[in-house]
Amino acid sequence: MNRIQKLSAEVIAQIAAGQVVDRPVSIVKELVENALDADATSIVVKLEDGGKKNIVLVDNGCGMSEEEIKVAIQPHTTSKIRSVADLQSVHTLGFRGEALFSITQAADVYIQSRQRDQQVGTKVVVENGTVKQIIQAGMSVGTVIQVRNLFRNIPARRKFLKSATQEFQLILTTLTQLALAFPRVGFQLHHNGELVFDVLPHTSCDERVRAIIGESIETLFIPISLTVSEFTITGFIGAPQAATTVSQSQYLIVNQRPVTSPRISKTIKRAFKTLLPPGIQPPFVLYITVDPQTVDVNIHPQKREVRFTEEEILLQVLKTLVIQTLEKANLLFTITDVNGLVVEDSKMDAGTAHILREATQLWNVKEFYDDEPILQIDNLYLIAKTKQGALLIDQHAAHERILYEQFLESFLKQKVTQHTIQQPKTIFLPLLESQLLLENADTFTKLGFEFTQQSNTEFLFTRLPALFGTRKIEEYLLEVLQDIRDQIQVPDVDIQSHRTIAYLACRNAIKAGEVLTQTERRNIVTKLAATTSKYTCPHGRPVAIAVTSTDFAKLFYRIPAFRNE
């Protein structure tokens, strides 16, 4: 018997479908995109058990005729493109012509649709991939699609579905992205009978973002906007205190299409410099508009990632824009948000620490003179009166921030000036990285490295920056090379050095529980005001919290707590 056989058409269909439909969220995405392409202004999604049991999508779009539904559930059919040439200028969301067919292969589908010029609609029932019923049905103009029993016949796939809550979260995120991309469309999401997401049709992206982010857009987000000849960037970036460890709240909309771009995320993170510790992601909502010819949306089967032809320029402009925006913004923490962030310090490097300690003259809090009384609470927090109200300061965090800046300054000096000859060290790198290292030899020289190539992937390092003496050089190299590969500017401080400096700053800073004299308190306050980024400690915790007169008034209900002035 022949062991290798051609797969039956049914199996092929199922496998193909699996690429489009891997979990409920992909069904929701496909269906919502269809609804959007049908010019719906209201889209309602209802889920049971995270969509595993039931997904209902109701739209008020243009609807389909009976004939159109029959065709739509065939493979590779679409109303959106006709030829390869059309692919170049896709302006609709769906275009591959696989969505409905794939879904019918994976689940039971009930399609009901009515066109505006018709009195009634058509209902088509597709079970187990075959049409079971086609009848007329009374309904509103638009389309209702119900998807039940996902993967009932493909237990292997069913097994890979996550919990209802997780699947629901994925759908919520996707729907939020789509809602951000299409502000003129109203969205509602119900889960197990409860209305969980609800946005009305808005007239602008700005309105939509405010509706979705809510109140905190005023306090925790900074608007950004820039138009250059090739593209337009608008949106909001989150202040450091809005950052989290997950990149879930990063929304990128390119030409009305919600996408992800690790490189853009990374670029924005870089722009925050030390305002954010490693591993912490700033939230953002960015709308980028470019000529459709210069963006490729067809690189991912689920259309999630994009690629730009002018990506380097875009990234450079974006980074500058974010840096400028952050510098201009008033980033003091407000009382509404004091989420602590914890960063591991275990990777601190002892060698770096020693050199830095020597090189940096520790700033002494006792150098300054007394001025006006500053309260100290719990021997940890300082309260200083300000023109706007009061400033609450964590004495430890504040001193730490001040020291960090000083250490950093020294570090940057050390890095470029002090070279120390080491025992020549042989390092092996992967082929791609080896190429990159050679191409960017200049950069590495600037950083204080000197090396010769021994073979394709073998390098002999003769000089290293002193600061890196005791560290595993490979890790550092790989980190930098990765950045170069992603075409991101090599940062001033690598992750490990940041940790080291942060550790030093922490160890040398005054501790919680230390009683400070009035002078010392004053010094902290003055010095902190002089640091370049005074808003978070190097670990990302807030250093100071400003309580404005308005905040006080809110606390005492003299004015409503929800109005932001």
């Binding site: 209201s42 029959k70 009195q119 009634v120 009848i135 409503p560």
Partner: protein, 877 residues
């Protein structure tokens, strides 16, 4: 009557005689006792033990009692069984001379319950008085706990039954009081009980003369003339109002001061809803199960406060005819609709607002506590925090808030906060008390009491040490005051200055002069503290009551805000639209939905358009089979108009609504056996009422009129009614006319203002497929048998029915003639059952072939399919 010799029973009988229609709760110590007949009855209803009290020569006296602290639940139970209860309390302190004085302090009746735990929060509890004279009927209504008080009067006549019934149905009082004359006339009493099942009792308060009643009412409200209330010209109304006031005073055994000034309810100010409309539209309860769940109110009520809930109910009952009022409500809803964050903030604050109206009334009725005052304060503070936000809006309704005396409220709140407060003890118990610092005397006394109590504790300690008796205790009881107790074994070592007071089995009790002198101080202080605290509290209550009218204004404003937030929330969540209110006498709703059913059926609900105007489409004659959705469509139209005129957005894509003055829903046929009327009679009475009252601004829903009689009778009557409704030049009500009589479709050809509509139904595989879509045209088939099949009627019956139908249709039956005459027949499939089923089969075959996916089919599978198709094709030919 039984005579008694003991003073207490003589007192009992004396009081009992004064309240013949009540059960007397007679306070004896910690119990309320029922005696004699009350005891028998009470024991039965309440399931408590019936005992007998031997009273010497008076013999055994039956008696049953309930503890005073849990009396409320028992009282509620008795009220539910239709009893009235007179509460008789001890009003003097017990002393050695004779028995204590007792007095009835309150009479509790279903309409005057003060214990709001046994009342529905979001509903008024009305007591009403009804006066019927030769020429007029008047109804006075009051809610003792919220203070609402209103009267209405109308002429007697053929529609009196309907008017009174509608009024009682609207307000659903839990108790009616009538004059002795009315009570004794079965005819008059019948007027009341026909529509309304509640306790009806008579009272002698209907006055000697109108003048005397007038004086009574004006005196109670401290006004010079009755005309300031707006019903000075309605003598019967004055009599009813007076009777109600005196009845309420009687039940409270005092002159109540907290009722609002009576207002005249003029039904014409609002959209008139007759009783069958209220019932058929299921505004407050479903028509069959009579449950709140499933009613319109239940579906759209998202109010957070009791006051808001009551107001929403009232708005639905009083749809507005005033465009300005309606639009100003819309404006607020629209503003909050697009600012959900603010609305949610309002609602979260409102959810902590307590029932201010009832709380204030409780204070006025002298049943309030410190907790009551604190609850009022809490709610007023929420008002104060909402005040600046709400007045910030440039909207008419919110501008009204600027008139509210926030400053006065603030002062009152401050006064309350300064005077009373809550403390949580270490054991977690909440103590509400007069605060320190309110009265210097009180502070001194409290200090004194505290020192006194500490002195006692110290005294016990030093005495223990001095005597060496470790079991020595210093205790208090009400007979001896403070005393020292020493157990038997230590009696030998008692000091000399101890004075023996009492000997127990294993201990003896002593006092010392020192202990006694401190005791006096302590007891004196305690007594004085109680008096002082009561005084201060009463003063505070007086102050709150003095502010009653502004507190009520605040309560009303909060209730209104609550209702508007609720309507806005529903409008947003369900994407309702803001109707356009016009006076062009056109009703035009696009894609309207039934507010209750659409929520239940969600996307499965099929929306429909409706258009009614004066000239081209004054009447829609709707035909279509049973179950197709005719009734839903018509009721939905009435509900949407009602909702719109109540000030709510409505479930539709868009709507233009010309103001309606009356909504009539003549729907379904229900027997009213209790009234002794047949289905048909009820139908005709209601139809007559509609024909009399409908104006050009009215909306009339006629659902299968004439169904209750024989076919020809029915057709004739329905035809005549339809013709009448469109023929009157001055009265052109908008009419939705659903009928099974396809003959009525011919009306369209005769009257330009009548249009035929049908509810679409397709036939598939011999069974009807309901499309629930209303479109122009006439239906030709009622699918009665198909529906009967769906309902599960036995096959033999169905077969027989089919044959009979065939005979009728092909013979000279009514339907056959219709078929040839009715022009609008666009439904080919419904013609001829045999061809139809043949076509169906062919179509099924076609569908099957079309649906084959050949690229997914192996040759073997294809062969199987071909075989199957062949078999099917053979069956068809």
């Amino acid at each position: 009557m039984r005579e008694f010799s003991t003073p207490m029973m003589q007192q009992y009988m004396n009081i009992r005689q004064q309240y013949p229609d009540c059960m007397l709760f007679f306070r004896l110590g910690d119990f309320y006792e029922l005696f004699l007949d009350d005891a028998f009855e009470g024991a039965k209803i309440l399931g408590i033990t019936l005992t007998r009290r031997p009273r010497g020569k008076d013999g055994d006296i039956p008696m049953a009692g309930v503890p005073f602290h849990s009396a409320d639940t028992y009282i509620a139970k008795l009220l539910r069984s239709g009893k009235k209860i007179a509460i008789c309390e001890q009003v003097s302190e017990p002393d050695s001379k004779g028995i204590v004085d007792r007095k009835v302090i309150r009479i509790i009746t279903p309409g005057t319950i003060l214990d709001d735990r046994s009342l529905e929060q979001k509903k008024h509890n009305y007591v009403c008085s009804i006066e019927i004279t030769k020429h007029a009927i008047a109804v006075a209504l009051a809610d003792v706990l919220t203070g609402d008080f209103q009267v209405t009067q109308f002429e007697r006549g053929t529609d009196e039954r309907e008017k009174l019934g509608t009024h009682l149905l609207r307000f659903a009082p839990s108790e009616c009081v009538v004059s002795v004359t009315t009570y004794n006339s079965p005819e008059l009493l019948g007027l009341i009980t026909e529509y309304h099942q509640s306790t009806v009792s008579y009272a002698p308060f209907f006055g000697e003369s109108v003048r005397e009643s007038e004086v009574y009412v004006t005196q109670q409200f401290g006004v010079a003339s009755i005309s300031s209330f707006g019903f000075g010209h309605l003598p019967v109304a004055i009599t009813a109002a007076r009777a109600l006031l005196e009845y309420i005073n009687h039940t409270q055994q005092s002159t109540v001061t907290h009722l609002n000034k009576p207002t005249l309810f003029v039904p014409d100010e609002y959209v008139l809803l007759d009783s069958s409309t209220v019932a058929n539209l299921e505004l407050f309860s479903t028509i069959h199960e009579r449950t709140y769940d499933g009613s319109l109110l239940h579906s759209i009520d998202a109010t957070k406060t009791a006051g808001g809930g009551r107001l929403l109910r009232s708005w639905l009952l009083h749809p507005q005819k005033n465009k300005t009022v309606i639009e100003s409500r819309y404006d607020v809803i629209e503003t909050l609709y697009s600012d959900a964050e603010t609305r949610e903030n309002f609602q979260s604050q409102l959810s902590s607002v307590l029932d201010i109206e009832r709380l204030t009334s409780k204070l006025a009725l002298n049943i309030g506590t410190i907790a009551t005052v604190l609850n009022i304060q809490q709610s007023l503070e929420i008002f104060l925090s909402l005040y600046p936000l709400v007045t910030g809006y440039e909207l008419y309704l919110f501008k009204k808030w600027q008139q509210l005396p926030a400053g006065q409220i603030k002062k009152l709140v401050q006064k309350i906060v300064r005077t009373v407060g809550e403390e949580v003890t270490e054991s977690g118990e909440i103590i509400r008390k007069i605060k320190d610092g309110v009265s210097e005397e009180l502070d001194v006394l409290r200090e004194l009491l505290a020192t006194g109590e500490t002195w006692i504790q110290n005294f016990e300690k030093t005495e223990k040490e001095r005597t060496g008796i470790t079991t020595l205790k210093c205790r208090f009881n009400s007979v001896f005051g403070y005393y020292i107790e020493i157990s038997q074994s230590h009696l030998k070592s008692i000091p000399e200055n101890y004075i023996r007071k009492q000997t127990l089995v294993n201990a003896e009790r002593f006092i010392t002069p020192e202990l006694k002198s401190h005791e006096e101080k302590i007891l004196g202080a305690r007594e004085r503290i109680e008096v002082l605290e009561r005084e201060i509290f009463n003063q505070l209550v007086t102050e709150v009551i003095e502010n009653m009218s502004v507190i009520k204004e605040v309560a009303a404003a909060l209730a209104e805000l609550d209702v508007l937030c609720s309507l806005s929330q529903i409008a947003l969540e369900r994407r309702y639209c803001r109707p356009k209110i016009t006076d062009n006498s056109t009703l035009d709703i696009i894609a309207g939905k039934h507010p209750v059913l659409a929520e239940k059926l969600q996307e499965q609900f099929v929306p429909n358009d409706v258009l009614l105007n004066e000239d081209t489409q004054q009447m829609m004659v709707i035909t279509g089979p049973n179950m197709a959705g005719k009734s839903v469509f018509m009721r939905q139209t009435a509900l949407l108009v009602l909702l719109a005129q109540s000030g709510s957005f409505i479930p539709a894509e868009s709507a233009s609504i010309s103001l309606c003055d009356r909504i009539f829903v003549r729907s379904g046929a229900s027997d009213n056996i209790s009234r002794g009327l047949s289905t048909f009679m009820v139908e005709m009475v209601e139809a007559a009422n509609i024909l009399q009252q409908a104006t050009s601004q009215s909306l009339v829903i006629m659902d299968e009129i004439g169904r209750g009689t024989s076919t020809y009778d029915g057709i004739s009557i329905a035809w005549a009614i339809a013709e009448y409704l469109v023929s009157n030049k001055t009265k052109k009500p908008k009419v939705l006319f659903a009928t099974h009589y396809h003959e009525l479709q011919e009306l369209e050809a005769r009257f330009p203002s009548i249009k035929n509509f049908q509810v679409l139904v397709k036939e598939q595989h011999g069974a009807p497929v309901f499309l629930y879509t209303v479109t122009p045209g006439a239906a030709s088939h009622s699918f009665g048998i198909a529906v009967a099949r769906l309902a599960g009627l036995p096959t033999e019956i169905l077969k027989n029915a089919e044959q009979l139908l065939h005979m009728l249709e092909t013979g000279t039956g009514v339907s056959a003639t219709t078929k040839t005459k009715v022009p609008h027949r666009n439904d080919m499939q419904l013609d001829g059952r045999e061809t139809s089923s043949h076509l169906k089969k062919l179509e099924a075959l076609h569908t099957k072939i079309a649906a084959l996916t050949l690229e997914n089919t192996t040759p073997l599978q294809a062969l199987h399919v071909l075989e199957e198709l062949q078999q099917q094709a053979e069956k068809i030919s």
